[in-house]
């Protein structure tokens, strides 16, 4: 009888009750957002350039990342620098994902999403804000964005700021090229830069 009772305790009911992880997660994301506790929500977006991770705060888009950066590392960086209240919450990223859809389909030439600039500081922030103003289909040079950011000679620093742009595509660092016409570098690799410039009609298809 001892064994019988212990067997029943061990076997039941835990084993017979499935755990619905997806339901828990969506309920948590919804309730956290309602209570103002969702400091960062994220989702993924399958783009022609690979699966992008979209991270938003109540202020706006804070990070957009290419595959190849480990999601765990990105989330930890955001936990340290913004807030550890991070949940997967794809519906929070719907607006950004819809605009990306239209952009990659060639139906949209700009993004109309608020940006949360918290991950960039100082001169890098000035460079990226200047970069955000370069229109679709145009290009600029490292020296020009450095000038627009207030330091014409700091074009190397401008290059570094662009190289660590936390929000590529939406903050269009792909539109910044070498003055001589060379493509320069790109956070997501030069092939992606080329793809985006073709999409925007700057380079021939």
């Amino acid at each position: 009888m001892t064994d019988e009772l212990e067997r029943r305790l061990r076997d039941a009911p835990a084993a017979s009750v499935p755990f619905d992880s997806a339901a828990l997660r969506s309920a948590l994301a919804r309730r956290a957002a309602d209570e103002g506790l969702l400091d960062i929500g994220y989702g993924t977006y399958d783009s022609p350039l690979g699966s992008l991770t979209v991270l938003v705060t109540p202020r706006g888009l804070v990070r957009l990342s290419y595959p190849g950066e480990r999601i765990e590392d990105q989330l930890q960086e955001l936990a340290d620098r913004v807030s550890p209240r991070i949940l997967r919450a794809p519906e929070r990223t719907d607006d950004v994902r819809r605009q990306l859809d239209a952009y990659f389909a060639g139906q949209r030439s700009g993004f109309d999403v608020p940006i949360d600039w918290r991950l960039v500081r100082g001169f890098a922030g000035d460079v990226l804000r200047a970069t955000a103003r370069i229109p679709f289909g145009s290009v600029s040079s490292y020296r020009e964005v450095a000038t627009a950011a207030g330091s014409p000679n700091a074009y190397r620093a401008a290059g570094n700021a662009l190289g660590s742009n936390p929000i590529p595509i939406v903050v269009p660092c792909h539109r910044v090229l070498h003055a001589g016409g060379g493509l320069g570098g790109y956070t997501g690799g030069i092939d992606r830069k080329r793809y985006l410039l073709r999409l925007e009609g700057v380079l021939d298809a």
Partner: protein
């Protein structure tokens, strides 16, 4: 100090906490308790001063939620006590024979110890550590709980 993203905590511990809660309050209320556990944790999360044992911290919260649920249930008038049969569950669950309701009615320490022993399959030392009692006290709580359950189950027959 660095805290992991909350999402990581959910991914790492939701399944085992659910198992713990099913053992504690039964399948019907486990989901609610689990949600409440994570919501409470999320509210307090940024104020945590150390990230040493987040798992134990979550278990403490889960246990509190489960205790609340059991207390609420005790206050609720139950028709079974009036001699009426409870409605039959839609899906017959072989485990739903009242045993877990009896576990839920054990004194708090015995209940917690029994759940950790049999649902989470933990060693007495680990149970003691989690409950803040000695290994021996954990063992005693489990056997006291079992004795009581055995008595009640036998009385039924």
């Amino acid at each position: 100090m660095t805290l992991p993203p909350f999402e990581t905590l959910v991914g790492a511990h939701a399944a085992e906490l659910h198992r713990f809660l099913v053992g504690y309050v039964g399948p019907a209320e486990a989901e609610d308790c689990l949600q409440e556990t994570f919501m409470s944790a999320l509210r307090a999360y940024p104020r945590l001063r150390h990230a040493d044992n987040l798992r134990a911290w979550l278990y403490t919260i889960a246990q509190r939620k489960a205790t609340d649920a059991v207390r609420r249930r005790a206050r609720r008038p139950t028709r079974e006590l009036d001699g009426l049969d409870p409605p039959a569950p839609a899906v017959p669950d072989p485990s739903d024979d009242g045993l877990w309701r009896r576990v839920g009615a054990l004194p708090a320490k015995q209940r917690t110890a029994v759940v950790q022993r049999f649902v989470l399959d933990l060693a007495y030392l680990e149970i003691g550590t989690r409950m803040g009692i000695s290994e021996e006290a954990a063992r005693q709580n489990v056997s006291a709980g079992l004795r009581r359950l055995r008595r009640e189950v036998t009385d039924d027959r």
